[in-house]
């Protein structure tokens, strides 16, 4: 009896299978404990009033409280505004940049520009925020305000004036992130088939027309990829706004983002239920936007 069981076992999981499981064990354990478990735990927590240690079941109460909290909506709108602006400006700027660099006939110049434009990408969000807080100094001593002053404009409170702070953050993240998309676009531009251009040249198309009617449509999947990745990245904005605006998202709460909202509820107010509910709402927002973008893209191509 014992023998027959072990024989059957051997048939189902061979020696090779077991070796395989040994090899993937670290990954699988990591995924289970640090991805699957937290997702489930967060979901359960979002239905409880809890400080993380003990909790009572409250059903949809947390979700209702979050959805009725105007601060949550403010933070979501702030996040969406900054994310949207960074994505739109960032993608177009980097695409134009990549097209210009790609138009150069000399490889050494191409490589030089590639390296320089990518450089800010390795700089941390902390260093970038600290550095730009000086460059965006609110009076005429700041470099940017000094330049404005040369044109006779009054100094701007880049990070201190509520009506400028979000745009300043976008400007700063453009500096930091531009090179990343440029590199991807440059690689993608190499993949456009030469004969498409040649055919267009025969038809008498100029370089701007070729760019508009061949390059851009051909790179459509890359654009979509960048819009989606950029949106996801933008929805997770935390470090720079935390360092510049504090946990209040100053000035006047304009830099309060969704992740900052989650962070405040979880780690300042110990409202883990509210925080996890908000994190699920944020996740849903990201998910819906991603699916929507993929759907829209599919419909257009058909």
């Amino acid at each position: 009896m014992e023998e027959s069981i072990s024989v059957r076992k051997k048939k189902f999981f061979s020696q090779k299978d077991w070796t395989g499981y040994m090899f993937v064990a670290p990954l699988v354990i990591g995924v289970l404990i640090f991805a699957i478990y937290p997702m489930v735990a967060a979901l359960l927590m979002s239905f409880q009033r809890t400080n993380g240690l003990s909790g009572t079941w409250v059903g949809l109460d947390n979700y209702i409280r979050v959805l009725l909290d105007s601060t949550f909506w403010d933070s979501l709108l702030n996040t969406l505004y900054m994310g949207f602006l960074s994505v739109v400006l960032g993608i177009w700027l980097s695409f134009i940049l990549a097209s210009l660099i790609n138009g150069l006939p000399w490889t050494s110049w191409k490589n030089l520009f590639k390296s320089v434009y990518f450089l800010p990408n390795v700089v941390s969000a902390v260093a970038t925020s600290i550095l730009f807080s000086f460059l965006f100094y609110p009076d005429e001593k700041g470099l940017l305000n000094f330049l404005l002053g040369l044109f006779g404009a009054d100094p701007i409170g880049w990070f201190t004036n509520p009506s400028f702070a979000q745009n300043s953050i976008v400007l700063m993240s453009l500096w930091g992130a531009l090179g990343y998309n440029t590199i991807i676009f440059l690689a993608a531009l190499q993949s456009v088939p030469r004969d498409l251009y040649e055919a267009a040249e025969v038809d008498g198309a100029g370089s701007l027309k070729k760019w508009w009617y061949i390059t851009i449509p051909y790179l459509r999947p890359i654009f979509l990829f960048m819009i989606i990745m950029g949106t996801i990245g933008g929805m997770k904005r935390f470090t720079d706004v935390w360092l510049i605006g504090g946990t209040a998202g100053n000035p006047a709460g304009t830099l309060l983002t969704s992740v900052l909202y989650i962070y405040r509820n979880a780690f300042l107010a110990s409202q883990m239920g509210i925080a996890t509910a908000a994190s699920y709402l944020l996740f849903l927002t990201i998910l819906i936007m991603t699916v929507l973008m993929l759907k829209l893209n599919r419909r257009d191509t058909i």
Binding site: D17, T19, G20, Y21, F23, V24, P26, L27, V28, V31, I33, F34, A35, I36, P38, A41, G52, L97, G103, L104, W109, V116, Y117, F118, L119, V122, S124, V126, A127, L131, F132, S133, F134, Y137, E140, K141, L143, F146, F159, W175, L178, I183, I184, A187, S191, I222, F225, I232, K236, T239, I244, V259, A266, M272, A275, T276, S279, L282, F283, I286
Partner: protein
């Protein structure tokens, strides 16, 4: 340009290329100016209390004392060392995990391998901001908060590295493994002696990506570390600025920031090819 039909327009084309270079150089200058200002200010004795006016790109009074002050006021040496320790640990754990599973998924072809890959890849889409609260509470329950286990343990979950490693190993021949197994070698030996060595390019890429990621991260260290002597460089720098208030002590802060950038800039200067290639590669693959 050697083609005859372009000959007549060669001159205008050359002119347009010069215009292009000038335009791109201006943009490049905008990218570089913040770095120049940071460097200049960090050596500028006149900038220790307030931002100099008018803005300058060469110190009025060149000094390295600002750097000494940075190291005295901020525990830079310790923070840098801590960051290296954390980065080293995360790199070892994550890349070992990724290579082991990449090898198994590519070469051993065991039952359920496809499921493991799909599971790992699908969790890649989960943002860290979703999982950070339960993860924090989990480490709290294990009494491991404020230790570096908070970095090493989650490093096992490196789906992206696994994906790249599997892709890479798919291109390596199976025959090496088969021959070694027939000769009686054990699977671990085949992995360690043959395929690990062949994976050097992908290992280099993963080390660089992981180093940059760990070195520059703030959110998780901010949540998980409490004692200042355990701070990473980003957290140390951030907490100092946060407590001091922004826009204070420009020269000292810029000196500290410059120091915090040295490792990543060195990596960028010497290993740029790997970074740029890996981004172009992953960007298009995804």
């Amino acid at each position: 340009m050697l083609q005859p039909k372009w000959e007549s327009t060669t001159r205008t084309r050359a002119a347009s290329h010069v215009v292009l270079i000038v335009l791109l150089s201006l943009g490049a200058l905008v990218m570089v100016i913040p770095f120049l200002w940071m460097l200049s200010t960090s050596f500028d004795w006149g900038a220790r209390l307030t931002v100099p006016f008018p803005p300058r790109f060469w110190p009025e009074q060149l000094t390295t004392r600002t750097y000494q002050m940075a190291f005295m006021n901020i525990d830079m040496m310790r923070y840098l060392l801590n960051s290296f320790i954390v980065a080293g640990g995360v790199i070892v754990v994550s890349i070992l995990s990724a290579l082991l599973s990449g090898y198994a998924l590519s070469k051993i072809r065991f039952k359920g391998g496809g499921l493991v890959l799909v599971l790992a890849l699908s969790t890649m889409m989960i943002p860290f901001e979703m999982t950070m609260i339960p993860q924090y509470l989990l480490f709290d329950a294990m009494n491991l908060l404020d230790t570096y286990w908070v970095f090493y343990l989650p490093a096992m979950n490196y789906a992206f590295g696994t994906f790249l490693a599997k892709q890479f190993m798919d291109q390596l021949p199976d025959s090496l493994r088969e021959a070694a197994i027939i000769d009686g070698a054990r699977e671990v030996a085949v992995f360690a002696r043959i395929y690990f060595a062949l994976c050097t390019p992908i290992i280099a890429t993963l080390i660089i990506l992981q180093f940059l990621g760990v070195w520059n991260d703030l959110l998780w260290p901010l949540l998980a570390l409490n004692s200042p002597d355990k701070y990473t460089i980003q957290l140390g720098l951030a907490m100092f600025t946060y407590n001091q208030g922004l826009n204070q002590l420009p020269a000292v802060i810029m000196a500290a920031t410059t120091v915090s950038l040295v490792p990543v800039l060195l990596i960028y200067i010497f290993l740029q090819r790997y970074i740029v290639e890996s981004i172009a590669l992953t960007g298009i693959k995804q």
